[in-house]
């Protein structure tokens, strides 16, 4: 079984998962694996990132019938993959990419200022108005912990209970660590915190929104292109 750490620029992809709608990371990887090994393998990822979302540390697993040197797989894949998908590391390891994961870190980039930085337009959310850091951090502290995050999910989910270990805002990007995330949850958290930062939502409301379990109460869903899957955590063996 092979494990890859990959990074990608999600701009031109319809997300991780293979779809008839357009190109996907999974399909590019499947094609590249075939090109270098002549084996059919379906790579599985730790996180099924949405259309337009980027990754710095996506974890991928797949099986080959022959024994391959992971370093040769890495070099071979980087030679044939499009430049917007890169293999950062490869190793032989038995694990399940989703079931074994104990947590993930997402980052969400914000571009402040009246005019958007043109070289960051595909990699950050442009917020035209200044964001007040203290209310954002205060609101974030009320979201950290174990809660029912239904109000921040764009789909009904069987188990809406998640634990957020931390939400940090450093004036440039959000850093969000949690054990698991509901559909579009990170983008809904960021949209809500940005609304807090520009005074559209009061700090006090954040607890009420969480308790309401009502998606309509929370802020906007932040756009996909500011979001990065930064890292996936697995237990030490």
């Amino acid at each position: 079984m092979l494990k890859l750490i990959i990074a990608y620029d999600g701009t031109h992809y319809f997300g991780w998962q293979k779809t008839k709608a357009g190109p996907s990371i999974q399909e590019e990887l499947e094609k590249a694996i075939w090109q270098i090994t002549r084996e059919r393998a379906l790579p599985e990822a730790a996180s099924r990132t949405d259309r337009g979302v980027h990754a710095e540390g996506q974890v991928v697993q797949f099986r080959l019938t022959q024994e391959w040197d992971p370093q040769k797989i890495k070099g071979g894949l980087n030679a044939v993959l499009p430049k917007d998908i890169r293999v950062k590391a490869a190793a032989r390891q038995n694990f399940h990419p989703t079931l074994d994961a104990i947590g993930k870190e997402y980052r969400y980039q914000i571009c402040l200022g009246e005019a958007q930085d043109p070289t960051r337009r595909l990699y950050s959310w442009h917020c035209r108005y200044p964001l007040d850091g203290d209310p954002i951090r205060e609101a974030a502290s009320r979201l950290v912990g174990t809660h029912d995050f239904t109000a921040f999910a764009n789909e009904r989910e069987k188990d809406p209970i998640c634990t957020l270990q931390s939400i940090e805002w450093n004036g440039q990007f959000f850093r969000i660590q949690g054990n698991r995330f509901l559909y579009k949850m990170v983008r809904n958290l960021v949209g809500t915190l940005v609304y807090v930062g520009c005074g559209k939502i009061g700090i006090e409301s954040v607890g009420e929104i969480l308790a309401s379990k009502d998606r309509k109460r929370a802020g906007v869903t932040a756009p996909a292109h500011g979001l990065y899957l930064h890292q996936v955590f697995y237990p030490l063996k």
Copy 2:
């Protein structure tokens, strides 16, 4: 007379200057000025950046026959310009964008590591091997000052004497300030310093290269997509 500070992502342009070969920043700006003012104006820039080069602080000048509020010009231009060109500031000012400039700062972004960061592939030069900072800084100090930079120019120039105030390397990007620059000079300086950083050119050779006035002695021309025109300096009035 109007002065603009503009930023652009040079990826999709054939450089600042209007050309029949393809889209240019100058032409996009000319079209946008026409759209909002119905006046024909040919904008002139402080630096005619090459194809693929980016700008964070390009300075542009143009004349309109009617009196326009600079803030309305800025807002109007940002409404009609493509998203990869942004007007950061606009003011009424009488000046000549090139003749009055007393200096410029360029920055050159490097992406280190075996696998390139995919979201930076259009905005930095990928150097696969580690760069040793001390030799780079020592070599840079020998290039600072007033010299004949013919060895670092891709075209013969009438006046090859330039003064570099500083070349800084912080491990992520080069910061180069000078009173003027010859054709492709910044990219040739960076190519040479990167060669010094990975041991392909010795520190001692840098002075010899400069003295030789021979372009073939210096390092490779670093690619356009790592280069940013950061700022143009004018005397205080």
